[in-house]
């Protein structure tokens, strides 16, 4: 049974979620104290942020605890809480007071995280959240890039930061097809081997392809340059002997499973489905409709290949 819970097979992440629900700050702080990888830190922070209603608890902790962890978690939670209010409805269906509350949550998150990044310029989780906030608060294309560049001085080639820049550079967020593709290539080709840096390129292709109508999309995936870039991306990341990706390994496999399925290369998709097992991830499956149904259909084809 495919399951899109981001905690995946990691029991410690489930335990982290339970610690948030029971408002156990020492356990939460202890967990984050043991994480050294910035990508894993951000991943776990997002998990905390998705616990509904946790902003009250995190707000109290942020008032009394020294350091930046509580404020970082509070900031990321406020973003999710804001989106909860906005309820992910299409813009025209959201009421005026919902939009106001949405923006107020985002502004509060931004104010908290401005302070955090000022105190701790290498705090990747806080910067990633600020790149995300840049979209919701409509602060501009160049400002998104500036935030990414500031983070990159301390933590270069961070996939999840790059993924948020890809979003900002999409036409739907006032970017352009050229810009988003160029950025994806830049990330892939300047990233270290065996890293997640190639995923940004995949996401660029997903965004461009899924923006098209069905017929044009199929043509897009048939382009030899697109296929070549995705092959290159796989060779530099998941297929590379030095590939290590912590909590986001599943994200990588899900991305390539989807990409190769779209390319029609189900044989290439198969090893990724094997690696995924039942742990789906990433919202891109949802671009095909119901994410469970889309995943299962693609997996079925890959198994047969």
């Amino acid at each position: 049974m495919i399951d899109f819970d981001p905690a995946g097979p990691h029991e410690e992440l489930r335990e982290l979620r339970r610690a948030v629900t029971r408002q156990d700050w020492p356990a939460i702080a202890g967990f984050f104290g043991r994480i050294s990888d910035p990508s894993d830190h951000e991943f776990a922070a997002r998990l905390v942020a998705d616990v509904a209603g946790s902003e009250g608890f995190l707000g109290e902790v942020a008032e009394r605890e020294p350091g930046t962890l509580a404020r970082t978690l509070l900031g990321t939670r406020l973003i999710s809480a804001g989106w909860d209010v906005r309820t992910a409805a299409r813009a025209k269906n959201v009421s005026r007071s919902q939009f106001e509350a949405f923006h107020e949550h985002l502004r509060r998150a931004e104010r908290v995280l401005i302070e955090v990044t000022a105190e701790e310029p290498a705090n990747a989780t806080a910067w990633v959240a600020r790149i995300k906030l840049n979209r919701g608060l409509q602060l501009g294309q160049n400002e998104a890039r500036r935030r990414y560049d500031r983070l990159s001085r301390h933590v270069p080639h961070l996939y999840i930061a790059q993924a948020n820049v890809v979003q900002q550079f999409c036409p739907k967020w006032s970017g352009s097809a050229e810009k988003v593709h160029a950025f994806g290539l830049e990330c892939m080709r300047s990233g270290p081997d065996g890293s997640l840096a190639s995923l940004a390129l995949l996401e660029a292709h997903f965004e461009l392809a899924f923006d098209l109508g069905r017929a044009e999309r199929e043509q897009y995936w048939r382009r030899p340059d697109v296929r070549a870039e995705i092959e290159e991306a796989a060779n530099r990341s998941v297929r590379h002997p030095a590939f290590r990706a912590g909590y986001r390994a599943l994200t990588a496999h899900n991305h390539f499973a989807l990409a190769f399925s779209q390319l029609g290369d189900h044989a290439a998709a198969r090893p990724h489905f094997m690696a995924i097992g039942n742990h789906g991830s990433g919202f891109f499956w949802g671009y095909l409709g119901d994410e469970v149904a889309a995943f299962n259909a693609a997996r079925a084809k890959a198994i047969k290949a």
Binding site: I114, N142, E143, R146
Partner: protein, 575 residues
């Protein structure tokens, strides 16, 4: 101490002994911040008049009107300086009023050539249309200042007790005769406020970012300004490449506080990143992450500027201002020592003061709510009581005219109101239009062409604002709003071009139609002749319904063309 305090003719004096060319100045405790908007420019006008007194016609550039002080200064031989300073004092007692109109014109011309600075608006938004905010305004009072106004101004402000003489040279010239009237020292004005809280932001109409914060006057404040400039320059220009200019200055206000002003321009289209980068620099200061190496560099630069034999001479004008504003006179060595001892913690404390009073100008199309700045007020707290007059062009906008003031009202928008007692100026145009500016710098235009305000009400408003009314030259008629035209001050040229094109077109059309109608009439006549000639049965056209119909048709066409042509001819002059 390398300067001494003494007295000349009862005027407090600062003297620095030095063997170079003599340089001297007479500074008075009066400036733009002491004026009112309706009298804005009086100090500058007086300064100009004074410099055209007896025997002073060569010294047009030797005066300076500042925010809280005004200074007459000269460098030269002892005799020249004595003649100059004595002449200034004589001139103040006996103003050359015959020059008044000329100097009024000179000031208007100077104003026309004056380019505003990119940080001008900060004072206006912080202080409003009075006190320190007046530096942001043009010299609107100049047209109506009278000789009596100037005499009174001279008498009140340019007196012996409100003056300081500063002088660097071999000796204090014995021939100095500073014959100033008796009076008193005038304290600097209390700062006014047009803000409800800080930190606050407002939208400018350019692409640059400007910022101002207020700190206690101190060496730490001055160092903070240097640090802020280094951070902005490094971050916005060197690292991001999004700004060309990134700078900060430190200016004592005269009341024990100082203004730190910072500015960053934006390379085309990059203003979003300049704003973001600016916000992050401020946040870094708030967090206290000040690199000791940066502080050291700022200290070294400040120390360099305080070394050398001419430093004390250079400091004399600002020492004179300190003396006039009641600030202790610090020897240069003491300032250098204090600067040396400055710590990161000292500068951080000054930064927190600056940030708490911060005012940020953001590029158009942006805001700073997300960065923790509240919006500076663009409206009044409440509307005035009164009669409402709808705007003839946009009915939803109403002018409110009441016993105590006027206002602008629009559904769903916050009120704009100016009470008569809070009106800083009324610019009065001969066509009846009025522009009112309130103390909080909000503006209301009363346009008789747009609002059906009865004449006796307009007269009542004028009477209530008589003390602050400044007559203006007649407006270009295209500037006067019309109730029917969509844009009052829009480009007049396209409208008349269209009109003349239409006129020509109709004239040509009329001529063609009339010519054609004559031609067709002739055809009709010819056809009638043909029909009438039934002499030869073989070659004649039979008279039947068909042939007669043709004849009728041709005559009708002729008539129709004629009428059409006549109509075009008549209509060619209509719009």
């Amino acid at each position: 101490m390398s300067f001494i305090q003494t007295e000349v003719d009862g005027v407090s004096t600062l003297f620095a002994e030095q063997s170079g060319p003599m340089i001297a100045g007479l500074t008075f405790r009066v400036g733009q911040a002491d004026e009112t908007l309706a009298g804005r420019g009086i100090t500058h006008l007086l300064e100009h008049l004074v410099l055209h007194g007896h025997g002073l016609t060569d010294y047009h550039y030797n005066g300076a009107t500042g925010v809280v002080i005004t200074m007459f200064h000269l460098q030269g031989g002892e005799d020249d300086i004595v003649a100059f300073l004595n002449g200034v004092c004589d001139s103040l007692r006996d103003l050359p009023m015959h020059r008044l109109e000329t100097e009024r014109q000179v000031l208007r011309a100077e104003e026309g050539g004056r380019r505003g600075g990119p940080a001008d608006l900060l004072a206006l938004w912080r202080y409003g249309a009075r006190g320190y905010g007046l530096t942001a305004y043009e010299e609107l009072g100049v047209p109506r200042l009278t000789g009596e106004d100037l005499q009174r101004w001279a008498q009140f402000w340019f007196n012996r007790q409100n003056a300081v003489l500063w002088l660097a040279g071999e000796r204090i010239p014995p021939a100095l005769k500073l014959a100033l009237p008796e009076g008193a020292r005038r304290p600097v004005p209390e700062p006014t406020s047009a803000l409800r809280g800080t930190p606050a932001f407002f939208r400018g109409n350019g692409s640059h970012v400007a910022y101002e914060g207020i700190v206690r006057r101190s060496v730490a404040g001055s160092a903070l300004s240097g640090l802020l400039e280094r951070e902005l320059y490094r971050s916005l220009r060197q690292e991001d490449g999004n700004s060309y200019t990134a700078a900060a200055t430190y200016e004592p206000r005269g009341d024990g506080y100082a203004s730190i002003t910072a500015l960053a321009d934006a390379v085309p289209d990059k203003e979003d990143a300049v704003l973001g980068g600016f916000v992050d620099v401020l946040a870094k200061l708030r967090a206290g992450r000040i690199d000791p190496a940066d502080l050291q560099a700022v200290k070294a630069k400040a120390d360099d500027a305080m070394r050398g034999p001419m430093v004390d001479v250079g400091r004399l004008p600002s020492l004179a201002m300190d003396l006039l504003t009641g600030f202790p006179l610090w020897p240069t060595e003491d300032i250098r020592a204090e600067m040396q001892a400055l710590t990161v913690a000292d500068v951080h404390a000054a930064a927190l003061d600056m940030l708490a009073t911060g005012l940020l100008q953001v590029p158009s199309g942006h805001d700073a709510l997300w960065a923790g700045f509240e919006a500076a007020p663009v409206a009044s707290e409440r509307q005035v009581e009164g009669q409402r007059y709808p705007n003839r062009r946009e009915g939803k906008l109403k002018l409110v005219v009441g016993p105590h003031g006027v206002g602008l009202e629009q559904d769903g928008c916050p009120p704009v109101a100016i009470g008569f007692h809070e009106c800083a100026i009324s610019l009065a145009y001969p066509d009846g239009g009025r522009q009112l500016i309130g103390h909080d710098s909000l503006t209301i235009r009363i346009e008789p062409t747009l609002y059906a305000v009865p004449p006796h009400e307009l007269a009542r408003i004028d009477a209530a604002l008589a003390a602050v009314t400044v007559p203006q030259p007649p407006r270009d008629p295209r500037q006067i709003p019309r109730p029917d035209a969509p844009a009052p001050a829009g480009a007049p040229a396209p409208a008349s071009a269209a009109g003349s094109g239409g006129r020509t077109g109709r004239l040509v059309g009329a001529v063609i139609a009339l010519v054609l109608s004559v031609v067709v009439l002739c055809c009709g006549g010819l056809w009638t002749l043909v029909l009438n000639d039934q002499s030869d049965p073989d070659s004649s056209v039979p008279i039947d319904a068909y042939s007669i119909g043709i004849n009728v048709f041709i005559y009708a066409l002729a008539v129709g063309l004629g009428v059409f042509g006549a109509v075009l001819l008549r209509r060619r002059n209509r719009k």
